[in-house]
Symmetry: D3
Subunit: 320 residues, 6 copies
């Protein structure tokens, strides 16, 4: 059975011949000779075990919003209508009731993509999926890697009552793949509120990870946060993975997610972080998770998710 189901739904809307819609620059991966960046959907939210699910519909909603955008960002003065090849590999075809099997298929699909020299942009889905998305990068690169988790939460749980969950991906990476991912190269960026536990922050500190909280960003700005994150993630590493959990945003800007965060980052701050981190030469993988359309009023969370994805495309364009 093929790993991937092609996505054929990019809708370029009402045409203005002087615009290039993002939908127009995204090619079906099967038709593309080469690619810089490759979008992959992962419609899976089974490992969201503690709040309302819904991110299984994230890939469709984010792509729907993505396609309406255009290719130029005036704040960045970056134009992605040329100079970057973007493809879409469709969705990973996953079982909905077997977390490990789903992770296995994601890892397999993304390892192949990364090995081809393409930077995958995975759109989930629950955050458990960063285990296979980041693992795929590790499989494809030689040497140590850095991982930056932009998230309101640690996500280094042992488990929820014995289960893998959306709270466990980074511990799995740090423990199971410790030869490639050292604690010192792991960054928690955006932790906020009262959703975390002392036990876990102690462990994160023990392994030497860098912690930059949402409060740090509010007080010291995004530039300082980027510097701290890159210092840690790039120290002696051959590749860096950036993972975005949309719940890092303030609840008012991202209500449509399993665990919204009052007091989280502003959307413009997150976009700045994604742009500054995404431009780094070592970036080899990126994912966005936890956009949950059934929980979203007015689609603002899906719109924010699409902005994050396009911003990352802009960052890659700017890095070239």
């Amino acid at each position: 059975e093929p790993l991937l189901t092609p996505y054929a739904g990019y809708d370029v809307g009402v045409a203005d011949e002087y615009d290039t819609n993002v939908g127009e620059i995204i090619t079906d991966a099967r038709d593309a000779a080469e690619a810089d960046v490759g979008i992959v959907g992962i419609p899976f939210d089974t490992a969201c075990v503690a709040g309302p699910r819904g991110s299984r519909l994230g890939p469709k909603a984010v792509r729907d919003e993505l396609t309406h955008g255009t290719c130029y960002n005036p704040g960045l003065d970056v134009d992605i209508s040329r100079g970057i090849d973007v493809v879409d590999y469709g969705d990973v075809d996953v079982d909905q009731t077997d977390v490990l099997a789903a992770h296995g298929r994601v890892e397999q699909a993304l390892t192949a993509i990364t090995a081809d020299g393409v930077v995958p942009v995975s759109i989930g889905g629950d955050h458990s999926l960063t285990y296979p998305t980041a693992k795929a990068m590790m499989n494809a690169v030689d040497g140590d890697v850095g991982v930056i988790n932009i998230d309101a939460h640690h996500d280094v749980r042992h488990s929820h009552g014995g289960e893998l969950s959306s709270g466990t991906p980074f511990r799995r990476l740090l423990e199971d793949d410790a030869d490639q991912l050292a604690g010192e190269n792991f960054v928690e960026l955006g932790l906020s509120g009262w959703h975390n536990s002392k036990y876990y922050v102690d462990w994160v500190r023990d392994i030497g990870a860098e912690i930059v909280t949402a409060r740090d960003v509010h007080q010291d700005g995004t530039e300082h946060a980027v510097e701290r994150a890159l210092d840690a993630a790039t120290d002696g590493t051959a590749a860096v993975f950036v993972s975005v959990d949309i719940d890092v945003l303030d609840a008012g800007s991202a209500p449509g997610t399993c665990a919204p965060s009052p007091g989280g980052l502003h959307t413009h701050q997150l976009l700045e972080l994604v742009y500054q981190l995404g431009r780094h030469d070592l970036i080899r993988g990126f994912d966005l998770h936890e956009v949950a359309p059934p929980l979203d009023a007015d689609g603002v969370t899906a719109k924010a998710g699409a902005a994050v994805v396009t911003q990352f495309l802009g960052a890659r364009r700017a890095s070239q």
Copy 2:
């Protein structure tokens, strides 16, 4: 047929005799001896051709919210219950299926109001309407004018597939009325995200317009933005028009609009811009567009729109 339908619905709510509600200071234009500022509704969204419509209901929703407000702003220490005469001219009675005819009637109604020395505050409606609202100011004043577009988008399209649209007003003004509006006196303030095109920013730059992006505002503050905008818009001009597209706000603060902007301005930043710009002596026209009640959750977008309108009244009061 009369151009205007009177508006009789200001509801002053539960009375506190020590309050003055905004609804209480707005007089029916037919009953007023004189006026400083005149509210005009334009229930028209036909030129919104590329996303969901809804701003036709904007004038009613913004007025409904407006009427609940009171006349004092503690941050500004400004009281509009005295020292400024505000009237309401009702709605321009427009055809819903003929864009040019509607624009013609808007231009005619507002030219007369402006010529009377009143500063019109038009509440739309789709952003195509800034062609006739700004044109009316040009008709009524001698000499060059400046225009400041506070918007996430350029709105200098040639057209959407041959049609006038909410994306075309400023090109029409800059091309058709170039004798009164020079590119150097045009300001794009608040551009953000991935909703614009390189082709159009190149044109905006070519004509010498000033561009202050949302990112500029987030990084350098509102004061600097105001300074840049006024420097350009007032340079050799006899009058300045300020246009606000509510989609300049962050999507979380203004979801109820055709094209919400993740990462846009905070509401307090927009209000600061409106206050600082609105106080300038040369201001002769103002409009607010794209509040679309059917797309709005909890009415927050209409509330933001009403705050923008009242803030402008406060600015006019402060300028006197």
Copy 3:
């Protein structure tokens, strides 16, 4: 008839043995030997006379959200799972159609709690309730007190047409209890927008109160605001009460309230204020009002309210 109805609904959700949920640290007051902080619900919104009611359901919604949180805040590096004893007294059992009787029962219940050396955290309910919640603190302490109102509104009305309302609590305190609360020890923090009246700000100034507007916070930061508020509220006083009206937040972050405030505080700013003020040694009472679940989209306002309450618990923990 007993004053209080016990609350038995804390739901600790899916267990992770390394987490401590906030629901787990809150003990039924009847079972607790001692307490530092005591939660009290006040399901009453009758004095909300001028907009949509709904805050009667606030205590339930805020507690529901509260229980999902965990005990550690990475931005503050504070852990409330130990070092602080938190109890829940249940809801004050109030009549829904008699404002004075309801206030009387609230005052009676909270006076007893405060006299026991517990800091009550009252969750309302409409803001009229700060009359009895603050009065209870005055009853229980000797000497002068300070009161800090974190609110978009003055709430020093004479009345709405002769009635006590959610707009009258602070005038009642300042006039009826002037021997304990001097104008100089009263702080209005967060006033914004066009919801207030010149007549009332003049009175607030006349009595010598400190006014720190939302615009001040946006321009000068939270630290400066805290300093100004504490300077006033602690000047010669024996105890300080902090009251939070959730409508002090920007409408996009707190739509679910009677009178949302476009341009109000960001949630992270409010949380910072609560933390810095809540740590002060003189704090003897705290309340949160105006979370109105029927008006809330996606529950973001209830989540913000729960974050405020937990933040205050964190502040108390940090002060010990």
Copy 4:
């Protein structure tokens, strides 16, 4: 202080000269020489003590929907654009925190209207208001009266914990005004679900009232229900009052109310009941309660409420 605040907001929308909008036939009562029917708003929901409030905003929402309708009903072949004089008296200006005072003012205002030979159509508001609206009819007529309560609930409570509430109006009428309203002339029409108590149905039966449940209507049809209701209500009476609680409808058709009823009446059944009952010669009063706009999705409950009111106008037209 005047009892009534005029209502000036009927909006006749886009004109079609061959239509007569309902808004066009409703005259301000102050300007009308005579009237058959008089609309009165009662913005009061304080006696809703056990669920979410919101019906205070019912009069505005129902009138807003009413005004969009036109004057002809093809199913009934009735045209209200002629042959009936409809006026609007505005809203009764009531205190929001004193139930008895509010009831007193409602009774006073409606007694005068009824005494003038006008049939009042009161739009509330919580159902407690049927005490004064029906009492006003009793005041104005000589002789016994019948009352038909179209409602999912008995509303014959003693009280909720000692308070008058939206559950008490009919006991008050039946006990306090027993000389004019006999149990045998009282009809409960539409009782459904699990929202009532054996204790109260026993009392209703004891006093000899007629009970026609929603299940009876579903099984036997509206015609039979009307016959039973009229037989009881008109037996020896000089006037009949019909009261509609919108929660008699199925929850899917009227979600925007304090206590929705799964399995309640279909809207077309309610409209049929209103039409058949409303045509009776003895009808001297009518009210509609419990439309709660803040609880309403898509405005369907307000639309249903407006349809009920217009249907009653149609019934009065048909009776003439």
Copy 5:
């Protein structure tokens, strides 16, 4: 410029090899050798001049829901997975600001389709579009035609203030094309509530049309309604067009439309009507209008619309 934009978005969801999803049986018209029925989207709501627009997004939403359905209806015992060829022609590419031009392109596209022997199923869009969709059938057939309008409204207006609108299509057909469509062959089925005018019903009666109201359907059942409708529409005609305005449904079942109808038809009644009418041999055209996704809560209106379309496919299957 091509008339049609292909639609490539049918999403067959999670596969069960024993199911056939509706999305699987719909072929791109360009790839199909022959067809019985052809779906055509018309994303156009400009002629909705009097209420909130939104049906421009109807084709996308209805197709999205359609694709999730399967091919068997147990109530009808009809299976559309074989025995009927269904194609999709994509959307008619229309100008959004020129009603007549849009109608012209729709008429041109559908005339060609009908002439090919395919029964078009047009999904709009506002109801003005039935002028070109029915006109196309007239163009393609010789002889008289019948038209059945399943709608809460007459839609035989002269105009709204001089404009073509969603209220005018049937008068245009009856007047402009009177040689092919006699009043006696026109049926108004489902008229309800207070949204129509005596002036128009008089005209409808004058021309001899058949009127079957929603009240008739509620009282006499769908079978009788179908009989009356077919008797009129097939009397001496060579072809029959059936048009469905989703607002014929009760507002609780179809809130997402410009003008919801409290008391309208139940969904099961509409589906029965569509099935019984759609099986008739003379049916040569069908359309569905006024599904307005931005006005829809929970997508129930789009789901109802998709059910109507699939029901019609079932009717065509059953007729073969």
Copy 6:
């Protein structure tokens, strides 16, 4: 680890001493000497593999609504405040990522309850859970059983791509437990729309099951449906299980579910079916599934679910 987590949240609301709230008659199972009926929550929606999840939150939402109800139904003249002992066992504590393990724990918990002579009322959760809930009844009784599935769907899938799902429970029961459940004793009641497949109906017919569609109910009434269902389910059986999938309701009355059904049953019809079936002497088990609060507007689906549960309690009361 204990199978069950106690539920302590029944909230009896504002007290009227003459009412008995449903929350008051439900005892914690640990405190009860004996019971007729036992409520069990199953917060599990993992086997919902093809649409949006959300029913994991069903047990909480249905219980919240349940508790507000009172004990008397006037249509049925049944009072559950006496004559029936109802307990609550809390929620089955299930793993969220392992369907078979979750089913095993449900089966174990419910087998014990049924063996104690209690009729379990399980509130899910996705419909896969009827495998263990019905299996538990089979475990506890000797002899053949009947099963009545009140559902818009067959739910006799082999699987979705190899997985157990909410579409598979009845095939599992019919195949794996064929010695106790014969096809002739299985009833599909309420099938509707275009959500099923010919392949599956053929299998259902082959095994001799009884099929009563929603269309049958609309045409022939509930009484006939009940007769057909009981004839089949009780023929030679020792016990009967009734399962309700809330999606059997019309989409307008139950939007908050994974797969809403336009044209499904009216709520009053479903309640009638539950009452007539639930009174039968052979009933030994009942469940309600697919109420998905995150997908629900205004809570109408949860309210319908609570009405179904209470109706079943009424049926049990009536049978005694």
